[in-house]
């Protein structure tokens, strides 16, 4: 698979904490890559570096061959990388529909001062995206009135509305009701596959990982300690014990 994004030797420390301690990772064109690992392992830091929120102290991030490390977030977004957030980042005083329409407007770069945001074409597109996330009935609800799960979904929907080539999702299913999780990831995966979008997602639900990821990278203390197909990685007793927290009865000490 041709890599679309290549992280090479990324390092970033906060004081004494090495949040990234030599990260090397390729993401293939159209690939779904899951990132797993305990809290504080540096997963969010990796996404923050790839999207320009944090600048690595050393290393390169190649996007189709160009080093984008240290570019401001908007420049990276303009190149086709979008993200969603561990804590949803919505425009709280706007309705869900307007949140989506703003993302579409930003993507289109159409900034006439006199034409309305809620123009028919954008409204229609926003409603279609919301339908995919099961949010259409909440279109006119203010974002600060949503429950945690819906906030999470609206946050991802906004990233999807940017029509990226690579979508980075930080814990997309945390906060989403267990009964809705798989259905939503299924819809999301279908949309992304149809358009050939690559995805990197931090995930704690191993069922989601094994069903939707092409590959799994395991994070621990700022390093990648395992990287491979889900069946292999999730079966590794070391990974099961250290990362997933499952003690296999027959595992050797």
């Amino acid at each position: 698979m041709k890599p679309i994004l290549q992280a090479q030797g990324l390092r970033l420390a906060f004081g004494g904490v090495k949040a990234a301690d030599g990260i090397d990772l390729d993401v293939g064109e159209g690939e779904f890559l899951a990132i797993i690992g305990p809290n504080g392992a540096g997963k969010t830091t990796f996404i923050n570096m790839c999207t320009g929120w944090l600048k690595p102290q050393s290393g390169r991030i190649l996007w189709r061959g160009e080093d984008i490390a240290g570019l401001p977030p908007r420049r990276i977004t303009q190149r086709g990388i979008a993200r969603s957030f561990q804590l949803p980042q919505l425009f709280t005083e706007h309705t869900v529909l307007r949140n989506l329409a703003l993302a579409i407007a930003a993507r289109e770069g159409a900034f006439s001062l006199l034409r309305p945001l809620l123009r028919p074409g954008w409204t229609k597109e926003a409603m279609e995206i919301l339908r995919g996330f099961g949010l259409e009935s909440l279109a006119d609800t203010r974002a600060d009135a949503l429950n945690e799960g819906s906030r999470k979904l609206a946050d991802i929907a906004m990233a999807v509305a940017l029509k990226p080539r690579l979508l980075l999702m930080d814990e997309p299913t945390s906060g989403v009701a267990a009964s809705e999780k798989l259905g939503i990831v299924e819809t999301l995966a279908r949309v992304l596959r149809e358009t050939g979008v690559s995805a990197v997602f931090v995930e704690h639900d191993m069922e989601v990982v094994s069903r939707f990821a092409d590959r799994v990278a395991v994070w621990s203390q700022g390093r990648i300690v395992a990287n491979g197909p889900p069946e292999a990685v999730l079966a590794d007793p070391e990974v099961r014990r250290e990362v997933i927290g499952i003690e296999d009865a027959h595992a050797a000490p």
């Binding site: 999207t51 929120w53 401001p72 977030p73 908007r74 977004t77 303009q78 979008a82 993200r83 980042q89 919505l90 425009f91 709280t92 005083e93 706007h94 307007r98 329409a101 703003l102 993302a103 407007a105 930003a106 993507r107 770069g109 159409a110 900034f111 006439s112 001062l113 006199l114 034409r115 309305p116 945001l117 809620l118 906004m158 940017l162």
Partner: protein, 308 residues
């Protein structure tokens, strides 16, 4: 509020202004000032949408007023002077906006204040050019080529102020519903998300800043044409505070708010000053207190009141 209802309200409002100006001649001057300040307050309201309060916008009022005073000798036509002064204020807004749009909240407010104080003292100190605190007289101008005597001139500025008020209110309404206008509120609630959507927040705020400077400039030009005398006090920090006061009083929820606030403000000031000397600050202070405690959305929200 629906478009229809707001348009109807605006129409009633405009008719009431004209009727009052017709019935009570000395109100013409007061209403012109109120409309001018309403336009400036509308600009301050745009910035408030982004959660930013400028305590220095009287600088643009004074700048445009002095531009009129300086240029009226050469450009003796009001219909040329007005757009010229507005354009100059917008240009100053662009230069200053490029700098202040990087700052937020208290820093934004105080930077605007600081710049306006610098400008105020320049007007005061360069006596040979500006005549210091004495100010400058504005030479008589023509309106559409016609020389106007006193009453005709008063009506001309009032009608110009009304037309500009309606024009800017419509512009602001369209702008606030456009992507850039809607994004302003995004600066207040989640600025970082704008960055991650590929939309530079500074540019979003800069557009609002230039518009607000143009509106404050419009107010300054109108005030210069109606008072025929400009002084540094037009740009003093209390004049900037007055604009913020007017927005809070009138309400920032709709484009009519600043105009309601400005009219209420000027009428209370005039009537209170006439009846109880020195009591108008007390009255206005009490009104502001009541608005903040009981009607956060200002006079505009009281009018909107009963929801359909």
């Amino acid at each position: 509020m629906t478009h229809r209802r707001e348009a109807l309200l605006a129409l009633l409002f405009a008719l009431a202004v004209l009727a009052a100006a017709f019935a009570v001649p000395w109100l013409r001057f007061v209403l012109t000032l109120a409309l001018a300040k309403g336009i400036a307050a509308l600009g301050v309201m745009l910035l408030l949408r982004a959660g930013q309060v400028s305590f220095g916008h009287a600088m643009f009022v004074a700048f445009a007023a002095y531009a009129v005073a300086f240029l009226a000798g050469q450009v003796g036509e009001a219909l040329l002077l007005l757009p010229l002064a507005i354009l100059l204020a917008a240009l100053l807004g662009l230069v200053i906006g490029l700098f202040v749009a990087r700052y937020r909240e208290i820093f934004f407010g105080m930077l605007n204040l600081a710049l306006s104080m610098v400008f105020y003292s320049l007007l005061e100190k360069f006596y040979s050019i500006t005549h210091g605190t004495d100010g400058m007289r504005v030479p008589a101008v023509t309106w559409a080529g016609m020389a106007t005597e006193r009453v005709g001139g008063e009506w001309a500025v009032l009608v110009a102020a009304l037309v500009l008020a309606i024009g800017f209110a419509l512009l602001a309404r369209l702008y606030l519903a456009s992507p850039l206008g809607e994004a302003l509120q995004g600066i207040k609630t989640r600025e970082a998300r704008l960055e991650f959507m590929g939309l530079p927040p500074r540019r979003v705020l800069l557009v609002a800043y230039v518009l607000s400077a143009a509106m404050a400039g419009t107010a300054g030009a109108l005030i210069a044409l109606t008072t025929r005398h400009v002084t540094p006090l037009m740009g003093y920090w209390t004049a900037s505070g007055e604009l913020v006061f007017i927005v809070i009083l009138g309400g920032a929820g709709g484009v009519l708010g600043p105009f309601l606030g400005a009219i209420a403000y000027e009428l209370v000031r005039v009537y209170a000053a006439a009846s109880v000397a020195d009591a108008w600050q007390l009255i206005l202070g009490a009104v502001l207190l009541a608005v903040i405690l009981f009607a956060r959305g200002g006079l505009f929200s009281l009018l909107r009141g009963r929801r359909a």
